[in-house]
Amino acid sequence: MSQRKFRLKGWSKYVVLMAALIIAIAPVYWMLTISLKTEVDQFAVPPRWIGFAPTFAHYYDAFFARSFGRYLVTSLTVATLSTICAVTLGTLAAYGLARFKLRAGLDRRLSMWILSTRMFPPIVTAVPLFLMMRDLRLLNTITALVIVYTALNLPFVVWMMRGFFRELPKELEEAAMVDGDSRLGALRRVILPLVTPGLAATAVFCLIVSWNEFLLGLVLTQTDASMTLPVGIAGRVTQYEIKWGVMSAAGVVAMIPILVFAMAVQKYLVRGLSLGAVKG
């Protein structure tokens, strides 16, 4: 009896999990099929979940005939440059904050202050940032986006890398410095190789944030030459008649790098999402 009850429980567990799985995946799969369907198949009733002749016409249309290819290049450029800036500056600061005791607990207070700047809702800084960039004549430039996304990711980099540095014993650098290395030499030759996995995960998180960011991009860029992929997609969705195939093709392309990145940092996902508060 008890064994049968147990088996039933195990079986119903899978039913619930399968249901959750389908709910999580089906909408995304649906967008993928729309991007591959001819218009006749897109509007078929009942909907064709499987069994249609795939076409890549919408991808060609979106990325070659329309401007989505351009937005894609902008997105890649902005995400890469802002990640490099944020990781470089943030790692140096994190090392300083993790390894030096400053006067009056300033190291701890600075860390908290840096973290608190990450808590501002984006719309709060969007209004003044727009006005500042307008005054600096940087609206509709990739420069503006790189600067803003660097600042957006900096607190995160500092906080994550500070955590990784603190997990390493101080004696490592001290030994290297006794052997004649300078402080920066010890950081480069001894410490950085040890935190490389954490550094890579942090960089991937920055790429994800910059790639997904929408509101600030929307506010700062309005021209074809400067807008990122999310801003470009949003403009087409909300302003013109919806071309379902083109939208879906753009959506699929915007989604793929993110899924690859997410799988790459799975091990650090919880730590990154909770800013180190929960170590997964």
Binding site: P27, L102, T117, F120, V127, F130, A151, P230
Partner: protein, 281 residues
């Protein structure tokens, strides 16, 4: 030496986080543009009498409360299911994470395709099973639109709760469970008196982070409904955006954004306190 390492970061954050904040304070005391700028408290006085702002606040709170409740309960349920070793666990875990990682704009596109009243997959599938979908216009009718944007939030962010709570569950050591087993406590008693108290830090972190994000929600709603139909799904962030970038009323937008900042601040202070406690531990 340490100051040299930290200085560039501090400089960037002062220029792009702190300075804009003061800039916004300045703008919030201004009405009019160009040479006609006047300084007054008019923007803040307007807050008190603006019915639209009040309803945007109400939408934001209802949205946050409903979404948070569902995301927490569903996320906790899934985390408990996947806490024990189970065939296919890695697959389930990875697949459940997909909605959370998607760019919010893509989530908007996905659900526009799903919820379209005539050709969407939801109504299409329902029609296929013989349901009359005439009344199910989703994003086109006020009440349904509000329910829809909340449902989409739950779809996207339940995985976050699940992930953080699962990590919390797996960090709980075996001994308390063994003790409970010896004491002969039932599954529910064990969950209530052993699991939940030990999971509390992870629960708090997850709730605080989600609340902060829910109070500032913008992206998916902007794509799905643009705050409409009418004003029915307009949240504070959307209303601020519209005020600043459609009506170019930067002063009033800045004044409203301080109310939002104040609200999220209450939550973020709690969150930072928790992190500080962990640092000390």
């Amino acid at each position: 030496m340490p100051y040299l390492l930290i200085a560039p970061t501090i400089a960037v954050l002062v220029a792009l986080s702190i300075y804009p904040l003061f800039y916004a304070i300045k703008v919030s005391f201004q009405t009019g543009t160009g040479d006609a700028v006047r300084w007054s408290l008019a923007n803040f006085a307007r807050l008190a009498s603006d019915g639209f702002f009040r309803s945007a606040l109400a939408h934001t709170f209802i949205y946050a409360a409903v979404a948070l409740t569902f995301e927490f309960l569903l996320g906790l349920g899934l985390a408990v299911l996947l806490d024990r070793p189970l065939r296919g666990r890695t697959l389930f875990r990875s697949a459940l994470l997909i909605p959370m990682m998607l760019p919010p704009v893509v989530v908007g596109v996905v659900w526009r395709l799903m919820l379209n009243a005539d050709f969407g997959a939801v109504n299409g599938t329902l029609k296929g099973t013989g349901v009359n979908t005439e009344a199910l216009t989703w994003t086109a009718s006020p009440l349904l639109a509000f329910a829809s944007v909340i449902a989409v939030d739950i779809w996207q962010w339940t995985p976050f709760m699940f992930l953080v709570l699962l990590a919390g569950l797996q960090a709980i050591p075996q001994e308390p469970y063994e003790a409970a087993l010896i004491d002969g406590s039932s599954a529910w008693q064990t969950f209530r008196h052993v699991t939940l108290p030990l999971l509390k830090p992870a629960i708090l972190i997850a709730l605080l982070l989600r609340t902060m994000d829910l109070l500032r929600v913008f992206d998916q709603i902007f794509i799905l409904t643009e705050g409409g139909p009418g004003f029915s799904t307009e949240t504070v962030s959307l209303y601020i955006y519209r005020t600043a970038f459609r009506f170019a009323d930067f002063g009033y937008a800045a004044a409203m954004s301080f109310v939002l900042l104040l609200l999220t601040n209450i939550v973020s202070v709690g969150y930072i306190r928790m992190l500080q406690k962990q640092e000390a531990a």
